[in-house]
Symmetry: C2
Subunit: 460 residues, 2 copies
């Protein structure tokens, strides 16, 4: 199914910023965050939690501030220090919140976040205001920083993606979006009149960047088989080949690779195409809170030193002392990453990737055995299957859905036990949904192909 779109990481984009580009190069299939309908969320007002059961379609409505849930901040009473009532209130809110997070974490299957981590050893550092102001390689007056950990992490990723230690520049970002904003900005600075080409299935931050940066942007169509939910990847080699065939030498385009989740997984998948700086790419970014797992969003951006050198010629014009997007930067995130990478090593990640692929394969098999249409891209751990009929069920398991399909991303914290629990609940619920014949399993043939569909028509 994905034979022709197999190069870049799952949920990845390839943005070629070029001076001119023929419009006919191979469509690349990419991931984007999912805009699926959800149903009611817990409403928590002043610590009281109640569940709204009405179903509603999620809409993109900007510019509203409907207070469906909020914890009001109240002025302490004069005698709070004596009565301890404020502290008691806060403690009760936190206890309830922790309980609710535990539940939500337990039943989470839809986002590519590894929720299995133990950073207990690092809680001793929470008392410090750690800030890696500006460039990781330029020291700051402010000495409560963690640059020594950050540079260690950057070295590790540069090595993973095969860029010499002396040839890279990079930093730890706040999230995948910041990595994309940076990569595309560098591309624009290298080619000020360049056009941004990106798959229409790219993460929305790419189009946000184009608008922010006032760049001309061309959306490239994708194969219908290579959409969002299915863990599709860009065919970087085809993109490069097409550029070369159209006569573009390597100094006439800039490719930024968004390796959000799979930038860290793919290097450990057998026969998978490689993300490497040995190919003519300009930058790679990856999320730190996805496959590694981290309490807060973060990411890694690696680019070629020469490109940042190009930026540095504009230092006066930039009026900036660094080439990061943000000035103040979270100094805890690098320590979380350093801790995980150091304990697991490349071998540890390889094991985890293999486990995820194995568990995904197992899960897909179980679904099919239970008569539920399902598909698994061989290079990914994203299992696509027939959308459950009950929104409450979808919400409980925080599934990402699109049209007739849903997906589960098998991450390191998703155990066989968890998958079994999910499957048992799904099977039990399906019996009820389809009991009186008024509901039928959705047909997913148009999403995943007839071979993988087990609806009444295609069951055969």
């Amino acid at each position: 199914m994905f034979g022709s779109v197999d190069v870049l990481p799952h949920d990845s984009i390839t943005n070629g910023i070029v001076e001119q580009l023929p419009a006919d190069f191979d469509p690349a299939a990419l991931f984007k965050d999912l805009l699926s309908p959800i149903i009611g969320e817990d409403v928590i007002v002043n610590g009281e939690s109640q569940n709204i059961t009405e179903k509603y379609e999620r809409k993109i409505v900007l510019g509203r501030n409907i207070h469906t849930m909020f914890l009001e901040i109240t002025e302490p009473d004069m005698d709070d220090e004596v009565t301890g009532e404020k502290e008691a209130y806060i403690a009760s809110v936190l206890a309830k919140y922790k309980k609710s997070l535990t539940e939500k974490t337990k039943y989470h299957l839809g986002y590519p976040y590894n929720l299995d981590f133990d950073y207990g050893a690092l809680s001793q550092l929470q008392h410090f205001s750690i800030n890696n102001l500006g460039d990781p390689f330029i020291e700051s007056n402010y000495r409560v920083h963690s640059r020594q950990f950050e540079v260690g992490v950057l070295d590790w990723f540069a090595h993973l993606w095969e860029l010499e230690k002396s040839q890279y520049w990079g930093y730890i970002t706040n999230c995948g979006t910041e990595g994309n904003l940076h990569g595309i900005l560098v591309g624009r600075e290298v080619f000020p009149d360049g056009i941004l080409y990106a798959s229409q299935e790219s993460h929305y931050s790419v189009f946000k960047a184009a608008r922010m940066y006032r760049m001309e942007c061309v959306k490239v169509d994708t194969l219908c088989s290579g959409t969002t939910v299915k863990g599709a990847v860009d065919d970087l080699d085809v993109v490069i080949k097409k550029l070369e065939e159209a006569g573009f030498s390597h100094d006439r385009f800039y490719i930024h690779c968004d390796g959000a989740l799979f930038g860290l997984m793919l290097p450990f998948v057998k026969h998978a195409p490689k993300v490497t700086f040995k190919k003519p790419i300009g930058s790679v970014s990856v999320s730190g809170h996805k496959f590694v797992g981290c309490p807060m969003p973060c990411g890694v951006l690696i680019t070629r030193l020469e490109h940042v050198n190009a930026l540095s010629r504009n230092v006066e014009y930039l009026a900036s002392r660094d080439a990061t997007i943000m000035g103040s930067r979270n100094g805890h995130a690098p320590i979380f990453l350093w801790y995980s990478l150091n304990r697991k090593g490349y071998r540890g990640f390889q094991k985890e990737v293999q486990k995820c692929l194995r568990n995904a394969h197992y899960f897909k098999g179980c679904l099919v055995d239970a008569g539920i249409g399902a598909m698994l891209n061989e290079l990914s751990s994203t299992v696509v299957f027939e959308r459950p009929h009950d929104e409450e069920f979808i919400r409980k398991w925080q599934l990402a859905c699109q049209g007739n399909i849903a997906h589960v991303v098998v991450m390191p914290n998703v155990t066989i036990k968890k998958l079994d629990d999910f499957l048992n609940e799904l099977v039990m619920n399906r019996a009820a949904w389809f009991e009186d014949g008024k509901n039928q399993p959705y047909c997913i043939a148009s999403d995943v192909g007839e071979n993988y569909c087990l609806c009444s028509l295609h069951r055969s």
Copy 2:
């Protein structure tokens, strides 16, 4: 000294994005991050720390990746799980690092960061991957979030700056820079051909934004008395008055106020000019890790709902489901802020601000009594004084310096005891620096005025 530049927060900027603006409006004096020379930093390689004593001037050199300090990530040995050597190594690195952070925090005086916080009650939440994906007011499939805390914090700030709950939009950012990037982006979307006017002393993120967004940018000269180090503030009222006099109705300009530190302090300073949405401003941002104090950088951005409504008309073009700069957002930061604000309340912050001003006044008096030229802007807690002659001393106390002056920012964690310790050490060192007459106290008259200078010429 600062009588005429007294409106917006210390270290604040006012960016008026207007269609046309007379070039003669009153210069505004602003803060920017300091680019003072520093000397050697601890070099830590693989957990071994050594102090470099050579002095060097800090330069802005982008595009380098000199590994002066890094903690290499190594592959675990096969038998590490048995020997426990990896864990032991990591534990020893962390123990040393914690010790070093404790020391650095103890002697920190130069940055406007409140390092006095105790979030022990929140360490129970470090095990969760909390992510407030996208818009605070639009729910996400991913349910491990903290929107209920975030909205509570936003309400608190909207109330502080006098914008109706139903009239604002905002979110918790990763840092002050993100607040500026957002405010300026909204301004540009409201006035696509607008020109960005900002004081030349603005934080460098303002000029970075202009370049990123491809906006025409005009740097407005500042009064020589109103520079960076001295805690100068924009005169927002004068800016508005000049705009009005030049015939600009309120719908023809957009003002973003960068309230980095003083956005939260000034509301509690008697007779201080007000940051308020009752004036024709578009947005205000403030840092969360400065006056409040937070383990990692964060900030708050509040804008008028109508402006984000304007953005939302472009939702299809934006291809974004939210109006934030970042997609994934740190869900822990809102909880830290919520916790602090709830415990302190407006009254608590008022007390802290008063304490800071009192301590700053005390410190300035002690300096003068000791024969050291010093100046304190009455609306701020930034004490400016004669630059110490020893770079090692400057480094130890992480002082921000510029030319002949240094400054200390008296934050809530800066106690009388700490100031006394600093002063005693400074006085003792000065005796040594000036002992044989080869060094003289710097003249700071051109920086702060003759009245405040106690050099041999101006002592009289």
